[in-house]
């Protein structure tokens, strides 16, 4: 399933750039019941991290109060050309990654 990553492809050194991520996940809270009264088990993304050329620049712990298909926007200083790596980890062994590259002039 898809993830939408939005990183500027080019930036000037020292610019503060915005990074947006949107990923497919139901974020089942673990507080809902089926019509016959059974608890629907929790199935959420619990953590997100973004690394810029190997160094972590942003991290988040997510809880059931984060809406389905989690959206996150955050910032970083454009330092060098290279790669952003994104990682989402969650319940039931959920793990997914994505990456985006940037040219810094």
């Amino acid at each position: 399933m898809a993830a939408l990553i939005n990183v500027p492809s080019k930036a000037k050194r020292g610019d503060i750039i915005e990074i947006r991520t949107l990923t497919s996940h139901i974020m089942e809270t673990g507080f809902r019941h089926t019509a016959d009264g059974k608890l629907v088990p929790r199935d959420i993304i619990t953590s997100f991290a973004c690394r810029y050329n190997g160094t972590e620049i942003f991290r988040a712990d997510l809880f059931p109060a984060i809406a389905a298909n989690p959206y996150l926007s955050f910032f970083t200083v454009a330092k060098d050309s290279g790669k952003f790596e994104f990682e989402w980890i969650g319940d039931n062994g959920y793990s997914t990654t994505a990456s985006a590259s940037i040219t810094v002039e």
Partner: protein
């Protein structure tokens, strides 16, 4: 001449008052978008924040993926959807000559799977069917709706219109009672829209996922405490067709975002 026309109009009103009551003239038609708050509008406006785009991306991957015993992808016949599917969703539901009835876009995708890919049909509201529908309909974004223009579709538009006007359920309400007669007012804090289906399949914040027009109609029927028509039933397709013809001229928005 003028007096003749006045008499003709007067006759029409007296002869068929129920038929004309409350119907929204073309220049007063408004997308559900215009009833939303600025935050929900912003979510739809930007493709990098519109959660419906996740499904469009999935649909794009499915479009190019070989499937069924024919091992054929949508793209093998239709090529680049950006050109081949442009404007298609604005004409759906569309009359199918061999079946002799209109079919909705998701039904057309399943017919294509059966006839050309020899693949099993995708269940209604399944992620893959919604994703393919969203990807195809997204190619029509900005294009004015013309569904129902086909003369062969007219009897089915009329059937859908009759269903729209018919009171049903324990609350004894017809679609028209809210969506023609009372739009712009509020029901339990939420604005009543005109019910123009411009952005399906769309991402509904309440659903927290993408859903079809059929799903939306079924939840409206549940709302008035009526027995909802089954997915794929001729009644639902006729209602969809009438709603699309009623939205004639409004631009497609898929994937729209709604509260």
């Amino acid at each position: 001449m003028i007096s003749w026309r006045a008499i003709a109009v007067a006759t029409l009103f007296t002869a068929a008052p129920a038929l004309l009551a409350g119907e929204i003239p073309p220049d007063a038609r408004r997308s559900g978008y215009t009833f939303m708050g600025p935050d929900t509008r912003a979510m739809q406006d930007d493709d990098t924040t519109n959660p419906g785009m996740l499904f469009v991306l999935d649909g794009e991957a499915l479009w190019a993926k070989k499937t069924g015993s024919a091992s054929r992808a949508c793209a093998d016949c239709h090529g680049d959807a950006r050109s081949s599917m442009k404007g298609v969703a604005a004409r759906y539901p569309s009359f199918d000559k061999s079946l002799g009835r209109p079919v909705a876009l998701d039904q057309r995708i399943n017919l294509c799977r059966a006839d050309h890919q020899q693949a099993a049909p995708l269940p209604y509201e399944s992620r893959d069917l919604l994703a393919l529908s969203a990807f195809v309909a997204h190619q029509s974004r900005g294009i004015p709706i013309t569904a129902g223009d086909d003369p062969q579709a007219k009897p089915f538009v009329a059937q859908g219109r009759a269903l729209f006007m018919q009171r049903e359920g324990q609350l004894n309400l017809a679609c028209t009672n809210c969506h023609d007669d009372n739009f712009d007012k509020r029901l339990a804090g939420a604005p009543i829209t005109q019910g123009q289906p411009t952005g399906y399949p769309l991402y509904r914040l309440e659903w927290q996922t993408l859903g079809s027009l059929a799903r939306r109609l079924r939840s409206c029927m549940t709302g008035v405490r009526a027995q909802a028509y089954d997915y794929g039933s001729p009644e639902l397709v006729a209602l969809e067709l009438y709603l699309m013809s009623r939205a004639r001229g409004l631009a497609m928005e898929t994937p729209a975002v709604r509260p």
